[in-house]
């Protein structure tokens, strides 16, 4: 399937391994990525806090660009925060024809216009709802047998449920669990898996921010996880890049590897840890690398 692909900023900045691993994994799932390289940052909620109409207009521009991609079935992102920020703007744009017209008048100079009803899915949602778990299972070359994976969802992709269309028909707040199981891994539940990583207040209250990250990492260690997996690069920044500092704040050794979702999927599809950029992590995913070296059945 062909998608208008929004990689976000951080996947091309401080977490280059995310964008890189997505590019490697997409062809293995028959996803054609048409990158929205003309689009700007979603604002991550901060632009909306600054000026709501500005955030809505900048994102409407991205949506309009996505709607122009010939043959694209939908828009896809690889960042929970992008998903949340975009969903919030789209909710307002889709709710009122008059407001949409107002926003579109600002885009008219570029010849762009957003039409109500864009489908925009995080890679996690697309994996479950479009690719399908059975289809995914058939493509697994290196089942994650005996790998104990703790899901870390990130707030923006699980709340608020109504806006994100999460219900019993579409239990999107449980999809990481389903994907880990489909890939053959063991899901490790722990207290912080749907809580906040703390990143949004890292510059405002560093201690509270790192305490959040440190506690969740500690909980995952106590629950005996080998690694965490997250669909959000901002969570990854607090959980991986800041992990040495978080360890200091909570006063315990951590050393918990945190994978991006495409890395975990890529591993199961037979790619090597190095190809997936795992050497770039601050916390070396030693447990994952050792595990991948020890299992038989990897793609030749």
């Amino acid at each position: 399937m062909k998608v208008a692909y929004w990689p976000g900023c951080v996947s091309r900045g401080f977490t280059p391994e995310l964008h890189g691993s997505m590019a490697k994994v997409a062809p293995l799932l028959d996803i054609e990525l048409v990158e929205l390289d003309r689009a700007c940052c979603t604002g991550a909620g901060v632009i909306a806090e600054h000026n709501q109409e500005l955030a809505d207009t900048l994102n409407a521009r991205t949506f309009a660009l996505a709607q122009q991609v010939p043959g694209a079935e939908m828009m896809m992102n690889i960042c929970s925060t992008c998903q949340g920020a975009q969903s919030e703007c789209q909710e307002r744009l889709d709710a009122s024809a008059e407001y949409r017209e107002h926003v579109n008048s600002t885009l008219a100079g570029e010849g762009l216009s957003y039409e109500k009803g864009l489908t925009n899915k995080n890679f996690l949602w697309l994996l479950v709802e479009e690719i399908g778990l059975e289809n995914l299972r058939e493509r697994v070359r290196r089942p994650l047998t005996n790998l104990k994976v703790g899901p870390f969802y990130g707030c923006y992709i699980v709340r608020p449920r109504k806006r994100l269309q999460i219900d019993s028909e579409r239990p999107r707040d449980n999809y990481l669990h389903e994907v880990i199981e489909t890939l053959g891994g063991t899901v490790i539940d722990y207290a912080g898996m749907r809580k906040c990583c703390g990143f949004p207040i890292i510059t405002m209250n560093k201690d509270a921010s790192l305490k959040q990250a440190g506690r969740h990492l500690g909980d995952a260690i106590d629950a005996d996880a080998d690694c965490l997996v997250t669909p959000c690069p901002l969570c990854h920044l607090n959980l991986d890049l800041q992990q040495p500092l978080a360890a200091g704040v909570v006063g315990r050794e951590l050393g918990m590897p945190v994978l991006h979702l495409p890395q975990l999927v890529g591993l199961a599809l037979g790619l090597e840890p190095r190809e997936l950029g795992m050497s770039k992590h601050v916390v070396r995913p030693t447990s994952v690398i050792d595990w991948s070296a020890s299992v038989v059945g990897a793609a030749a």
Binding site: A39, C40, A48, R61, T203, N205
Partner: protein, 424 residues
């Protein structure tokens, strides 16, 4: 744990797993199970009361109105905060674990007095008092009523819908790690007065809440309170509005990097189209310019982050070139983005669409299908509504005169909300 269906719409069995705790007993908390018999549309509260009446009179639960108005019966149902009287048994069972048992616990972030009763005074009401929850009226108080624009009062109706149940406080993730955080309920209440055109202390209130390290910039934007609120108050949204008014209208520069972070973020997107993380952090600490990173506060911060920075460089996660040079969108597109900034930020008043107030086109569509013409009548479409601004003479109309304190006395009076039949 039997969930036998007697007949459709008839009496069914529901098993409750109640968290029991009496701090005065010296015993540890424990779980207690009771099976009750009620119709599926009955509330979790009715189930708890039946368990108390039939099996154990010592079960502690606070309740009063039983119709989601008094805010007394906040608990956690299957791990999520809710009003016990506002949660149907079938829905609660649907959200339970594999065994179908409905798990009921006291709310979080507040000490337990007994079983399902938490100490609201110790946490929630103290925080509410912290934000001066009454009108500080503009002087002189008019002889009859204040004249204010209708939409400026409509603007605060969302926060006035709060029933002080504490559900948002229970699950606030910032408060979980930082108990001193003023929190969602109190900050939503603060907006109720900041947004009230009759209040005289908008700047003072905002400056106080912005400078407090546990004020408006301590919210971690996790949407927990949005999800928790049974009245759709959207406390996090109100906190974002407090930030917006503080920064954009009052140009308040706080000591918590809140204003600098927002300014740096907005500027970097305008300059590059994409976020430049390596520049965002130092600017958030040192000031929103290229030279921000040379400010002492930024240097101190960079120094404390050196372990992470070195590791990121060593692993090739961040390259020096990548850190020193932003990634940008193509120049034509950047110009378009900057054009959007100029146009939108250049407006005399900010547009802000609050769907709680305006509703969606679907909500406002005429009920009778025949009348749902292609072009909806103007009265059915919610127009984009600007932020409340100074009243213009033409828009003015009267609202009820409240004089001094207690604009919406019943909701704002701590005593009013904390009462209830405490049946422990």
């Amino acid at each position: 744990m039997t969930e036998a269906h007697d007949r459709e719409g008839g009496i069914e069995s529901f098993t409750l797993r109640l968290r029991r705790y009496d701090p005065e007993s010296g015993e540890a908390p424990y779980w207690d199970e009771h099976t009750v018999e009620l119709e599926a549309h009955r509330s979790v509260l009715e189930a708890i009361l039946q368990a108390r009446d039939r099996f154990d009179g010592s079960i502690g639960i606070r309740c009063s109105c039983r119709q989601a108005i008094c805010g007394s019966c906040g608990v956690r149902v299957n791990g999520e905060p809710a009003l016990a009287c506002h949660t149907h048994l079938d829905a609660a069972r649907g959200g339970s674990g594999a065994d179908g048992v409905i798990e009921i616990e006291p709310m979080g972030n507040m000490p337990v007095i007994k079983d399902l009763i938490v100490d609201m005074d110790e946490v929630h009401w103290k925080k509410i008092q912290r934000v001066t929850p009454w009108l500080l009226a503009k002087q002189p108080v008019p002889e009859r009523e204040y004249l204010v624009p209708r939409e400026s009062m409509v603007d605060v109706t969302q926060t006035m819908a709060c029933i002080q149940c504490g559900a948002c406080v229970s699950d606030c993730l910032a408060m979980e790690v930082d108990p001193g955080f003023i929190g969602p309920a109190a900050l939503a209440k603060a907006y109720r007065f900041v947004g009230d055109p009759r209040d005289d202390q908008q700047y003072e209130r905002l400056n106080d809440l912005a400078q407090d390290p546990q004020g408006i910039f301590d919210c971690t934007h996790c949407f927990k309170c949005v999800e928790a609120c049974p009245k759709d108050v959207n406390p996090m949204g109100q906190i974002m509005r407090l930030r917006r008014v503080a920064i954009a209208d009052h140009h308040i520069r706080d000591h918590n990097n809140g204003e600098r972070h927002e300014a740096a973020f907005a500027t970097l997107i305008k300059d590059n189209g994409l976020l430049w993380e390596a520049e965002l952090l130092p600017r958030s600490y040192g000031g929103n310019s290229f030279f921000g990173k040379f400010a002492p506060s930024a240097a101190k911060e960079l120094l404390s982050s050196l372990p992470s920075i070195f590791k990121a460089l060593a692993r090739g996660k961040v390259t020096l070139a990548g850190a020193l040079k932003p990634h940008k969108i193509p120049s034509e597109d950047l110009k378009a983005v900057q054009g959007i900034y100029d146009k939108v930020e250049g407006r005399e008043r900010r547009y802000e669409l609050n769907l709680y107030i305006s509703g969606s086109d679907e909500d406002n569509a005429p009920v009778v299908p025949e009348q749902a013409a292609v072009g909806a009548t103007p009265s059915t479409v919610a127009p984009p509504r600007p932020d409340p601004g100074p009243p213009s003479a033409a828009e003015e109309e009267s609202v009820t005169h409240q004089g001094g304190a207690g604009a919406d006395a019943s909701a704002d009076d701590p005593e009013a909300g904390s009462e209830g039949s405490n049946s422990q």
